[in-house]
């Protein structure tokens, strides 16, 4: 318990250090564009592949469970859409991004720490936390929602491909994904994604920033970043769902 409180304290102290004005706007914008590439553009491939197959599997499983002639066929499209928007895209994708982006952030900052590059920044008079972590958090907050929207779209295409062998027509699948659409679900999905983006970038940066030791500790920090980000994501998933949907 004491250790948890210590971590929490250090985490909020770090956040306080992170959220201050960058020394130079042009340098910050340059850093931000690099992070957009690393966090966003470089993740499009994996997001596309995972979303497509998740969408396909969800529609096949839904069709398998809705075999009764009493259920209308369009329900497969409807259930695929709801599953993707409410849970699979925001939560599962963010858990995967915690592994890809989070571990990358922790190991990058961690190796800078152990090779004294962060100390060198501090000696120059640069706020290392703002310089290194703020662009990552801002890029994540701005790009993760775009990735999740893309993921939903690709997932729905995957769902359509998946249901081709289940006897459902394209028309009823399309009817299913349009019927009874509640726009608030997209808002809910984006709210969750924004929270998760913040958790992934800040928690991973925290573990990287406080790495102490050598290459082995960088690996440990990277693993911890993924584990803790995932646990916190799942906790917030429950809390936000309870707050927004219950």
């Amino acid at each position: 318990m004491k250790k948890l409180l210590q971590h929490l304290g250090k985490y909020f102290i770090l956040l306080n250090k992170v959220f201050s004005m960058p020394e130079k706007r042009s340098v910050f914008i340059n850093q931000l564009s690099q992070e957009f590439k690393k966090i966003g553009i470089d993740s499009i491939g994996i997001v596309t592949i995972i979303s497509f197959f998740i969408g396909a599997v969800v529609s096949i499983q839904t069709a398998y469970n809705f075999e009764s002639p009493l259920y209308p066929k369009y329900l497969i499209g409807f259930a695929t859409r709801e599953s993707l928007i409410l849970e699979f895209c925001p939560t599962m994708l963010c858990l995967i991004l915690a592994g890809k982006v989070g571990s990358n952030m922790a190991s990058q900052i961690g190796s800078m720490r152990v090779s004294e590059q962060i100390d060198a920044l501090e000696i120059m008079g640069v706020n290392s936390a703002t310089f290194l972590i703020l662009p990552k958090i801002v890029a994540s907050l701005l790009f993760f929602p775009c990735l999740i929207i893309l993921s939903i779209a690709i997932g729905l295409v995957g769902g359509w491909v998946g249901c081709q062998n289940t006897g459902i027509t394209t028309a009823s699948y399309l009817y299913g994904i349009k019927i009874d659409f509640n726009p608030f679900y997209v808002t809910y999905c984006l709210i969750k994604t924004t929270f998760f983006a913040f958790i992934i970038s800040s928690v991973s940066s925290y573990f990287g920033y406080y790495t102490n030791g050598g290459a082995l500790e960088v690996g440990t920090a990277s693993t911890r970043a993924v584990v803790y980000s995932s646990i916190i994501i799942l906790l917030f998933n429950f809390l936000l769902t309870d707050l927004l949907l219950a």
Binding site: E23, V27, D119, A120, I123, M124, G125, V126
Partner: protein, 248 residues
Amino acid sequence: MIEIKEISKSFSENLVLDNVSHLFERGKTNLIIGESGSGKTTLLRSLIGLNEIDSGQVLFDGRDFHNLNIKEKRKLRQEIGMLFQKGALYDYMTVEENILFPLTMFTEQENEEKIYRVNECLKRVNLINSNKLFPSELSGGMTKRVSIARAIVMNPKYLLCDEPNSGLDPKTAIIIDNLIQEITIESNITTIVNTHDMNSVMEIGERIAYLFKGKLSWQGTKEELMNTENKELNDFVFASKLFKRLKK
């Protein structure tokens, strides 16, 4: 000049620096020597706030570093150049970008002016035409020289060097030592070099402070060092057969 007054620092129960006081003079190469684990690196890091001290004062020309607020500390740090043990070059930047970085962060100079200054510093450390190399493409000596170039690019008032020639061959080590001493004299800055290399001590040591188990055990010049009666210092300095023979 940098003056430290009764500095103490401990990690958990372990007292690493015990009431250390010393004056590092301007325009001179001030050396801190001592065995591994004697507290040299902790002292150097404590001077600039990379380690928080438990008690004492660090005065940079009268300004008490640990009493300054965060903004004032950052401002003061812009007057300090530091050469780290492993160079601490940003590995995703080229040599030129590494040296350019402090100028980009803290000056409003035109790009041509900045590049001119970078080339000036690279020339000073005898590394012309290596602007576009990445740190991974540099040898140990080159890394140290780029690191020195980065440390002096903002014309610092204070230059701190943590074991500048560790891992270097004796010839390159002497080149680095002499470079540090020349820059100190040319720019009339306060230089502190942390080392356990006796060749460095003999080459550039003007004012020497000897740390033993976290305490300042001796201070003086290299001439005085050769005739010291301090037992621990004698054991440290004349540990090698070569130096024993030299003393005889």
